[in-house]
Amino acid sequence: MKESISLTWRRIPERYRMMGSVCKTCNTHYFPPRSICPECRRKGKIEPFKFSGKGKVYSFTEIHAPPAGFEKQAPYVMAIVELEEGTRCTGQVVDATKDDIRIGDSVEAVFRKLLSDDPEGPIHYGFKFRLIK
C-alpha cells in the first residue's frame, strides 16, 4: 500500500500520540479529530484533545487475507476499540492471536510500525493496541 509522505506527515500527531479533538459545547470527544462536531455543527467549539490510548475491545477479527503491504504481518488481529473518553477507533492488536482476545478486554495504545513494505520507502509508524491482562 502506498501512502504519500505528505499524507503520512500530516497524520503524525494523530498516529503517534492519538491527538484527537473535543467539542467544548457538548463535551463529545473525537478520534480521529473532526473540525465540525456532528452533534452541534456550527454551535460546536472544537479544540485539540490528547487521548489516553486506553480502552476496551468492542469487536475484533483476525485478518488472514491482508491487503497489499500487510502480507508479512498476517495473520494479525484488528479491533474496534472503545476508548475511555467515549469514542471508538480501529486498530491492530499486537502480540496476540484471536484466541487471546475477547470482547470487553482492556487495551492500551502502543507505538509500532504500521507499514514498511517498501525497503527504500518511508517507514510509517503509529498506534496499535496491546492487551492489558
Binding site: M1, R11, S59, A65, P66, H124, K128
Partner: protein, 387 residues
C-alpha cells in the same frame, strides 16, 4: 413529480471475464437492456452509470463519455455516479430523478465494474477505499475484516452462529444455480461453507462475495408513457438513499446499518407498504453477515433473528420472504458498480414472471437494498408491476 418505470433490463454473464474489458462489458449490458425495451438509441435522452473504481481497477476515468462514445450515443449526456458498492443503485436513483422531474423521458442506467485485471491483494486494497482509507484501511483493516467485526458483534449480542452465516451462502448458491448470469451456479453444502478457508475470522471464503467482472443496465421511462414502449413495465414505487458514518467504528451499533433502516423506512412510507407486503428482495450480501443484518434492517425479521431465520430456511424461495433469488452478491458475483443495477434487473424479471427455475410465486412487490462500504451509503428501491 412523475412516477417512473423500468421498461427494459439486461446484464452480462457475471464472472471472471478474461475476454472482455470495461467498455465491452458495459456496452453489452446496455444493448441488452435497449433490446429488452425495444427502443432505439435515438429515443434516449440521457444516461447515468455507476462504477466505483474504474480509475484504480482499469485506469479509466471519464467513463460517462466513454460509454456514450462506445454505445454510439454521442452527444447525449451520460454521467458517472459513485457511492462505492452502492454506485449502481445511485445511478438508478439519478435516472429516476431525471425522469421523475420531467427533464428527460427515456433514460438508460448502467452499472459496471471490471475487476480481474489486477491481482486480489490490489483489488482488496482498492475496495478498501469504500471504507475510511486513513483510519481503517491504512491501519490494516480489510472489508472482510470490517464485516467480520460486525459479525463478531452480532454473535456476541444475539448468539448468531457461524452455521447461521454459512446457511446464507448455501441458500444463495442454491439460488445462483437457477440464474444463467451467475458467476457460481453450483450448489454447496453447509459443511463446505463452514470448512472453507478463513479470510477474516469468523468470515471464511464462503462468507464472502467474489471478485467479478460484469455490467447491468435498465431503461427508464415515465410510467404514464411506459406501456407505449413495453408490455411489462415495472413501476418504481420508491427510491430512497441515506448515509451513515464512513468508518464502521463511528456507528452507534455494529449489528445494524442505520442508513439502510432509514432508507427502507422512508421507502415503505412513500409506497404505503410494510415489510410484510414484500415477497421478493435482492439485498446486499457482500458478506453473509450483511444479508442477516439487511433482513433485520429491512424489517423482515426482528433484530437478532435474521441468522436463525436464514438457518431455518425462511429466506429461501417458498419461505416467508425470498431473499436474493438471483444468488445475491455471493453467487451471482459482485462487480461492485454493477450490483445495484443487477438487483433491479432481477426484481424486474421476478415481477414479470420470467425467472424460470428461480421464479417466486405470486410476487406483487419487490425490493432492492444496495449498500456502499460498511454501511455509509444505503439505497432502497420498491417495485411493482406497472401493467
Amino acid at each position: 413529480m412523475r412516477s417512473v418505470a423500468i421498461i427494459g433490463a439486461g446484464m452480462t454473464k457475471f464472472g471472471e471475464d478474461w475476454e472482455r474489458g470495461f467498455r465491452e462489458l458495459v456496452t453489452e449490458a446496455g444493448i441488452r437492456a435497449l433490446e429488452d425495451a425495444k427502443i432505439s438509441g435515438d429515443e434516449i435522452s440521457a444516461g447515468y452509470v455507476g462504477t466505483m473504481a474504474s480509475g484504480s481497477l482499469v485506469g479509466q476515468e471519464h467513463t460517462g463519455a466513454l460509454i456514450a462514445d462506445y454505445m454510439g450515443l454521442n452527444p447525449i449526456p451520460i454521467t458517472r455516479v459513485e457511492g462505492a458498492c452502492a454506485s449502481g443503485s445511485l445511478a438508478l436513483r439519478q435516472g429516476i430523478l431525471a425522469v421523475s422531474s420531467g427533464l428527460h423521458d427515456v433514460v438508460v442506467v448502467g452499472g459496471v465494474e471490471k475487476m480481474t485485471d489486477l491481482d486480489t491483494a490490489a483489488v482488496s486494497q482498492i475496495l478498501g477505499g469504500a471504507g475510511d482509507q486513513e483510519w481503517e484501511l491504512f491501519l490494516g483493516a480489510t472489508f472482510p475484516g470490517l464485516y467480520a467485526m460486525m459479525a463478531r458483534r452480532h454473535m456476541h449480542e444475539y448468539g448468531t452462529t457461524e452455521e447461521m452465516l454459512a446457511s446464507v451462502a448455501v441458500k444463495n448458491h442454491e439460488n445462483g444455480a437457477t440464474n444463467k448470469y451467475a458467476q457460481f451456479q453450483n450448489r454447496i453444502t453447509l459443511e463446505t461453507a463452514m470448512n472453507s478457508k478463513m479470510v477474516a475470522d469468523p468470515l471464511k471464503v464462503m462468507d464472502c462475495s467474489p471478485i467479478t467482472d460484469g455490467a447491468a443496465a435498465v431503461v427508464l421511462a415515465p410510467m404514464e408513457k411506459a406501456l407505449s414502449y413495453s408490455k411489462k413495465p415495472i413501476e418504481i414505487l420508491a427510491s430512497e438513499q441515506a448515509t451513515g458514518t464512513l468508518a464502521l467504528h463511528d456507528r452507534k451499533s455494529l449489528t445494524s446499518v442505520n442508513a439502510a433502516k432509514i432508507a427502507s423506512e422512508r421507502a415503505y412510507k412513500k409506497a404505503g407498504l410494510t415489510p410484510k407486503d414484500i415477497s421478493v428482495a435482492e439485498v446486499h450480501d457482500c458478506f453473509t453477515i450483511a444479508e442477516i443484518v439487511a433482513t433485520e434492517d429491512l424489517g423482515f425479521f426482528a433484530p437478532g433473528e435474521g441468522g436463525k431465520a436464514a438457518l431455518d430456511g425462511r429466506t429461501k424461495i417458498g419461505g416467508d420472504i425470498a431473499v436474493n433469488t438471483s444468488g445475491g452478491l455471493k453467487a451471482t458475483g459482485h462487480p461492485v458498480g454493477a450490483t445495484g443495477v443487477k438487483q433491479a434487473c432481477e426484481i424486474s424479471w421476478q415481477l414479470r414472471g420470467e425467472r424460470g427455475a428461480g421464479q417466486v410465486k405470486d410476487v406483487e412487490y419487490g425490493l432492492t437494498h444496495n449498500v456502499g462500504g460498511s454501511g455509509a451509503t444505503a439505497v432502497v428501491h420498491l417495485y411493482k408491476r406497472g401493467y
